[in-house]
Structure formats: structure tokens, C-alpha cells
């Protein structure tokens, strides 16, 4: 990642300048001063609301401490469904995105002609809000959408297929998974490209000299060196996958409940911020647990940090 590379150089520079003691004290304060605005920003706009949400999740509507919101959440008809759907979507979408993004970024790194154009085209979804992406895919999958028009005009179907109907849970799920994959693969790709760019070419060339095939180079050279980037991409994407919302709302409405959607419904439609906070708490726990697992499973040794 570019950010990590810059941080490394920064450290080198401060280390070399550290020999001058008077400057050192002033210098020692500077990073903290520079960090202060973002720390204050995070504390006021992130940590504080998060604490408030935590408290809300264990409060009754009248403000007294109570486990009612958690109990109400756990006993709700949509609770089990929303956990199941969120986990399934994550399990399908995240691996698909990483594999696709890996293929895309390896292709771009071969330096093929017009690669820049592809990079731009593949990055387009990054610039689109997730709700807009949901609406775009809605126009494709809806009963009279582009896909059904195509099927009918090719004579493959008489009236089209109701992809987004609650009666066809599989096609509904796949439609959401495809839209979600399309929407966020670019993010993974950008992270992986950045990671691929800092891998020195010499390693691959050395392996080639010893007769390693493409697959061997990928397996034993590229992927291990790419591990920090893959880790970052996986953590970011999985956390975001737990929060999946707008694409699901646009394509499936109530038919495919997910955790973030339920939090939104409890806050907006059923006006119970306590139960909404309970859902938010659950999403946070999932994200924390998952980040912990990734950090352990994909532990990166220092020499791999580049």
C-alpha cells in the first residue's frame, strides 16, 4: 500500500534526524499535534456516538437499564433470517470479490495495451453510491428489466422470470450477490494493485530463471508477498459486507432481511432506537470477531511488510 510505504520513509527520516537532541523534543510533539485533529474528530463523531449506541442497546424505551432491546431483537421474526442472509452474503461475495480482483489486477499488471482504460472502466463502481448501484441492478433484474427483455427477445422465456420475487429465494439471493460483487470488487482491486506494485520484479524474474511456471510464481512468490494487501482488503470488505444495506434494500426490499437493514428499519420505520442499537452492537461484534480471525489467520511477518 502507498500509505505504508510513505510511513516507512517517514520513520527512516525521523530516525536519521533523531541525533539532534533540541530539535527532537519539538519534533516529538509535532506528530501528536498533527494527529490531534483526526483524533478529536474520531472521538467526537465516532467513539462518542458508538458509546451512546452501546448504552442505548441496553436501555429500555424509558431510559432505565434493561436487556429488553436485546431480547426483543433476538425474539424478532426477522432476526434469524437477517443473520443467516448477512453471513451467507458475506461468505459468497467476499471470496468472489477477492478472486475476481486478483485476476483483474494481475491482468492489469501484465502491462497489456489499453490497461489504463480497463483500470478506469473497472473502477467505475467505486464512484457510484451503493444505492445507485442497487437501482442500476434493479433495472436489470426487475420483472420488466433488461435481463428479462433479453430473455424474451431471444425466445428463451415467454414472459420473463421474476428474479427478485420472494418466491424465488435463490435467484433473489444471487441477484443481490452479483450486484454487491460488481459494486465493491473495484475496491479490492485497487488495494491489490497497490500491493502488487510494491513487489519487486526481481523475485518473479529470479523464479522464472529457475524455471518456475506462472502458477508456481503466483503460488510461491506473488501471493505470499501480497499477503498484507490481501489482509487489508479482506478486513475492509468483510466489515463492509456485514453492513450491506442499500443494494439489498433496492433489490429485495423486505424479502431478504439483513442485519444493517433491520437496524435501519427498527430506527426509521418502527421508531425504536434501542433495538436498532442492539442490531448495531451485533454488527460490531461480528466485525470485531472477524477482524481478529483475519489478523491471526493471515499474520504478516515483518519482513513481508516491504
Amino acid at each position: 500500500m502507498p500509505g505504508e510505504v510513505m510511513l516507512g520513509r517517514e520513520q527512516e527520516r525521523t530516525a536519521s534526524e533523531a541525533v539532534v537532541p533540541p530539535v527532537r523534543r519539538r519534533r516529538a510533539l509535532t506528530p501528536y499535534l498533527l494527529l490531534a485533529p483526526s483524533v478529536i474528530f474520531m472521538a467526537v463523531l465516532f467513539a462518542w456516538p458508538m458509546l451512546q449506541a452501546l448504552v442505548l442497546a441496553v436501555q429500555d424505551v424509558d431510559g432505565s437499564m434493561s436487556l429488553d432491546p436485546l431480547a426483543r431483537m433476538a425474539s424478532d421474526v426477522q432476526f434469524g433470517e437477517s443473520i443467516k442472509n448477512t453471513l451467507l452474503l458475506t461468505a459468497v461475495v467476499v471470496p468472489a470479490q477477492v478472486i475476481l480482483a486478483l485476476v483483474m489486477s494481475l491482468l492489469l499488471m501484465t502491462g497489456l495495451r489499453g490497461g489504463g482504460l480497463f483500470l478506469y472502466a473497472w473502477s467505475i463502481p467505486l464512484g457510484i453510491s451503493d444505492l445507485a448501484a442497487g437501482v442500476v441492478w434493479l433495472s436489470i433484474f426487475t420483472d420488466r428489466g433488461y435481463l428479462n427483455s433479453l430473455l424474451v427477445s431471444l425466445g428463451l422465456s415467454e414472459t420473463g422470470f421474476a428474479f427478485l420475487s420472494y418466491e424465488h429465494p435463490l435467484s433473489l439471493f444471487l441477484a443481490v450477490a452479483v450486484a454487491e460483487t460488481w459494486r465493491a470488487t473495484a475496491l479490492v482491486m485497487v488495494i491489490l494493485i497497490a500491493g502488487l506494485q510494491v513487489i519487486p520484479k526481481d523475485y518473479g524474474e529470479a523464479a522464472e530463471v529457475f524455471g518456475a511456471t506462472f502458477w508456481q510464481r503466483l503460488r510461491y512468490v506473488t501471493l505470499p508477498l501480497l499477503r498484507p494487501s490481501i489482509q487489508v482488503a479482506l478486513i475492509i470488505r468483510t466489515i463492509l459486507a456485514f453492513q450491506v444495506f442499500a443494494v439489498v434494500v433496492a433489490l429485495a426490499g423486505r424479502s431478504l432481511p439483513v442485519l444493517a437493514g433491520e437496524a435501519y428499519n427498527w430506527y426509521g420505520s418502527y421508531r425504536n432506537p434501542n433495538v436498532a442499537a442492539a442490531y448495531a452492537l451485533l454488527i460490531m461484534l461480528f466485525s470485531l470477531a472477524n477482524t481478529g480471525i483475519y489478523l491471526r489467520a493471515l499474520r504478516v511477518r515483518d519482513e513481508q511488510l516491504g
Binding site: 489504463g116 453510491s129 444505492l131 497497490a194 506494485q197
Partner: protein, 456 residues
């Protein structure tokens, strides 16, 4: 390429921060486009500045909150005798705001508007000015007695002036008429006949053409609270898990089998009606008027169907009140007089689909599609076996959770096909918990209760 990646990375982080969940967008509103003089002539367009100036009258409402309703209503306000700053909030934010201002003793709002259920709590807390003198000066508005009674809020003085009323009807595409079951008449359609109608369409065309607003922002719960339950059980709450209710859900399950399954994505029924996805649809009048105005030749309006206990229907009356210590009471009274003028009441119907509270309006001026709507609503309200349902009062912010009880019952029975009795028992318990927690008494058609309303 490296610089490019840097840019993309920056872009990605921007996108990430920008992707907060937001509600599905609503299409742009359609103006009342017809030869009939619908919209009031806006003679002097006011400058569209959003800053609040001293002379502006602040009008806060829980009515007209969807984006596509705000603009048409602001158009109506443009030719008002006072300069108005209109904003709309949901019920909870609205009552919090008014409460806070009253407590602080710094009331900046001169006029509040909203459904009866939103205004009634303010009278109990003593926040509303008494408007009996204003009501007698508006006697030529001919407000029907039921609405006048409501606006007295159980006292003998008036606390708000009736403003609009909203209700729900069926709209039918004329293409469905050849399939109408033998012996059925549109004015007295039963739920059985509605089901047969849908079944016949399915048999002969292979398509399910009934439609309900079961989407994320649809008003399907009103169908259960105000139409299905009262028609089958004569009640909206008390008989929630009765034997009659079990029968009702079984029948509705059959109706649902001939309903377009895409209904779970419909919020406003005028859209699927317009593009032929459904032929017969139930919805709020405000969510049907576009199709009635633009393609009035293709659609009929039908009163709500009749069940074993009569024709259940819901009316949501709204009113305009003046908060105590209002900074501009005179202006507020002039604005109330203006908004209840027959022309403005018709404009509100024409632009927004909310019906006049005033009996002095002359609907002959309306476009033909809307005249049909007015006729159907009048028929619905005039039936001898009508079961009128008023929206609940007393659940406060938790009224929305009550709606969830009905919607969850629907998804479990109709969508997931769970056995009816246990679902009703479980959801009935949630309903009772809510009523107990808020202490809300029964409301019509259920007879008044002393304590919290009890589900049998």
C-alpha cells in the same frame, strides 16, 4: 499508473465515507396536469430563500413529509395571504420539537398541522390555543359533524380546525373488467369476489394481477388495521387472534396466492398500475392520483371490499392548530382560513390526493379521474354497513411498532406460510405488550376501554 492508483484510492475512501444508508429515492412529483383549473394561480411567487425571516410564519406539519408531497404543497402555500415557512417532520420529531419549544417558553411555530392522532396529545398537555371563535367564523366551510366532534378533543371547545382527510380505495384497470366474477358489482364487491376475480384473471391470462403496497415504504399495515380486520372481525385490535381472525388470514392467504408476488417491492401502487404490472390495487388515495389524472380513461375507482362484518374502511382526518404563545396568531388564523377555502381544499386533493375536510367543495371542477375517486370515497363512507376505523391514539412513538406487528403477521402467514394459530398467538402477545407498555386504550371500532386495550 501509480499516481492513478493513488487517485483511485482517495476516491475509494471518499466513496466509503459517502455511502451512508439512505432511503430509496422517490420519483419527481407530477403536477396536476389537466384542463381543469386545479392549481391555484400563483400570482406573486415568493423568493425561494430558505432562511427564516422574522415576518415568515413558521408552519410545522407531520402531513406531507415525503419529498414528492412537499413541493406541491409549497406551491399551494405560495399564494397564501401570509409568507409561510413550511417544514414537515415525522410524528416523534414533531412532538419532541413542540414539547421542547413549549418547555423553553420560546415558541417560534405559529401553526401546527397533522393527523388527529398527532394533535390530540397536545390538548392534554395544554399546548393548543382554543379556536372556537375561529371555527364559528369558518361556518361556511361546512365541516361535517364527525370531524367537528373530533376537533373538540372530548371537550366542548374546538382545539383545531379540520384540514384534510385521507382514505384508501381500490383502483381497477378496465382490462380487468371482462374477468369480473358473475354477480359481482363494483360498488359492493366482497373479499370473496375479489379473490375469485384474481383467480379468474390468473386462470385465463396466466398472470397474477392483484396488487398491494407491501414494499418497504408501502402502507400495507393500514390494509390490515383499517380494512381486512374490521371487515372480518368488526374490530381492529381486540379480535386480533380470534377465530374470525384465523378465518380472515386463511382467506387472505388465498387472495395473496393470486396477488402479483412483486407486491413485496411496491411502495406506491400508481407505478405498477401505470406500467400494467397489476390491474387491481389497493392503496392510499395520495398514492393513486397520478395514474387517475394522467390515464383517467383506463382506470376505475372502487370502494373497499365488504367482508362478513361489513365494509371496514379507515379515515385519517387531519387538522390545523395554533400552539400557545404562537408568535403570529393572526397570521396563523388567516392561513387556516386560506387552507380551508374550497379552492385550496380542492387544490390539495388535486395536487396531493388528500381529501377536503370542508363540505363546501365542488368536485365538478376536478379532472374526470379524480371525480371518480371522489365518488368512490363518498360511496365507501356512505354504506350502511360501514365499519369506520380511526388511526390509533396513545401509542406515541411506539405506534410504528404496532404496524410492525401487523406486517410481521402478514409475512409469517402469507409469505412464509407458517400455521396461523401460533403466529396469531405470538404476535397477539407482542401487540398486548405494546398496549400495556404505553397504556393505550382501545380506539374505534373497538369500544373504549378504561385501562390499556385488551386483546382477547
Amino acid at each position: 499508473v501509480k499516481r492513478l492508483v493513488g487517485h483511485l484510492f482517495g476516491m475509494a475512501s471518499l466513496v466509503l465515507t459517502a455511502c451512508v444508508p439512505s432511503a430509496p429515492c422517490a420519483p419527481a412529483p407530477t403536477a396536476c396536469t389537466s384542463s381543469a383549473p386545479c392549481a391555484p394561480a400563483s400570482t406573486s411567487p415568493t423568493p425561494s430563500s430558505t432562511t427564516i425571516r422574522d415576518e415568515q410564519l413558521i408552519f410545522l406539519s407531520t402531513q406531507f413529509t415525503p419529498p414528492r408531497e412537499i413541493d406541491p404543497f409549497r406551491r399551494i402555500l405560495r399564494s397564501a395571504p401570509v409568507e409561510v415557512n413550511f417544514s414537515s417532520l415525522d410524528t416523534e420529531a414533531f412532538s419532541n420539537r413542540v414539547d421542547a419549544l413549549q418547555h423553553a417558553g420560546k415558541v417560534r411555530i405559529s401553526l401546527v398541522g397533522g393527523p388527529h392522532a398527532d394533535l390530540a396529545p397536545f390538548q392534554r398537555t395544554g399546548y393548543l390555543e382554543e379556536l372556537t371563535a375561529l371555527m364559528s367564523s369558518l361556518s361556511n366551510r361546512e365541516f361535517p359533524e364527525p370531524y367537528r366532534e373530533l376537533s373538540r378533543l372530548d371537550t366542548d371547545q374546538y382545539y383545531y380546525v379540520p384540514w384534510t382527510r385521507a382514505t384508501y380505495v381500490l383502483v381497477v384497470n378496465k382490462k380487468a373488467m371482462p374477468y369480473l366474477p358473475a354477480g359481482a358489482s363494483l360498488d359492493a364487491l366482497t373479499y370473496d369476489q375479489l379473490r375469485e376475480w384474481g383467480e379468474r384473471i390468473l386462470r385465463e391470462t396466466g398472470q397474477r394481477k392483484l396488487g398491494f403496497p407491501a414494499g418497504e415504504r408501502g402502507l400495507l399495515y393500514r390494509f390490515f388495521q383499517g380494512y381486512l380486520y374490521p371487515s372480518f372481525t368488526g374490530s381492529s385490535v381486540v379480535e386480533f387472534r380470534s377465530a374470525a381472525a384465523e378465518l380472515m388470514w386463511r382467506e387472505f392467504g388465498e387472495v395473496w396466492k393470486v396477488t402479483n408476488p412483486a407486491s413485496t417491492t411496491y411502495d406506491w401502487m400508481q407505478e405498477p398500475l401505470e406500467n400494467d404490472e397489476v390491474w387491481i390495487a389497493w392503496d392510499h388515495t395520495a398514492r393513486l392520483i397520478t395514474v387517475l389524472k394522467q390515464r383517467s380513461d383506463d382506470f376505475l375507482v372502487v370502494p373497499a371490499p365488504v367482508g362478513p362484518k361489513g365494509r371496514g374502511y379507515m379515515v385519517v382526518p387531519s387538522g390545523l392548530g395554533i400552539p400557545k404563545q404562537a408568535p403570529n396568531r393572526q397570521g396563523a388564523e388567516r392561513l387556516i382560513a386560506y387552507l380551508t377555502e374550497p379552492e385550496q381544499q380542492l387544490a390539495t386533493l388535486c395536487e396531493l390526493g388528500f381529501f377536503p375536510a370542508s363540505g363546501a367543495t365542488r368536485p365538478e371542477k376536478l379532472p374526470p379521474g379524480l371525480q371518480r375517486l371522489v365518488k368512490a370515497v363518498a360511496e365507501q363512507e356512505a354504506t350502511s354497513d360501514g365499519v369506520l376505523v380511526l388511526p390509533l391514539i396513545g401509542l406515541g412513538a411506539r405506534g410504528s411498532e404496532l404496524n410492525k406487528v401487523y406486517l410481521d403477521t402478514f409475512s409469517r402467514i402469507a409469505l412464509r406460510q407458517e400455521p396461523i394459530p401460533p403466529v396469531l398467538a405470538e404476535q397477539g402477545k407482542l401487540l398486548q405488550d405494546l398496549l400495556n407498555a404505553t397504556g393505550a386504550g382501545c380506539w374505534p371500532p373497538d369500544s373504549r376501554s378504561d385501562g390499556p386495550c385488551l386483546v382477547k
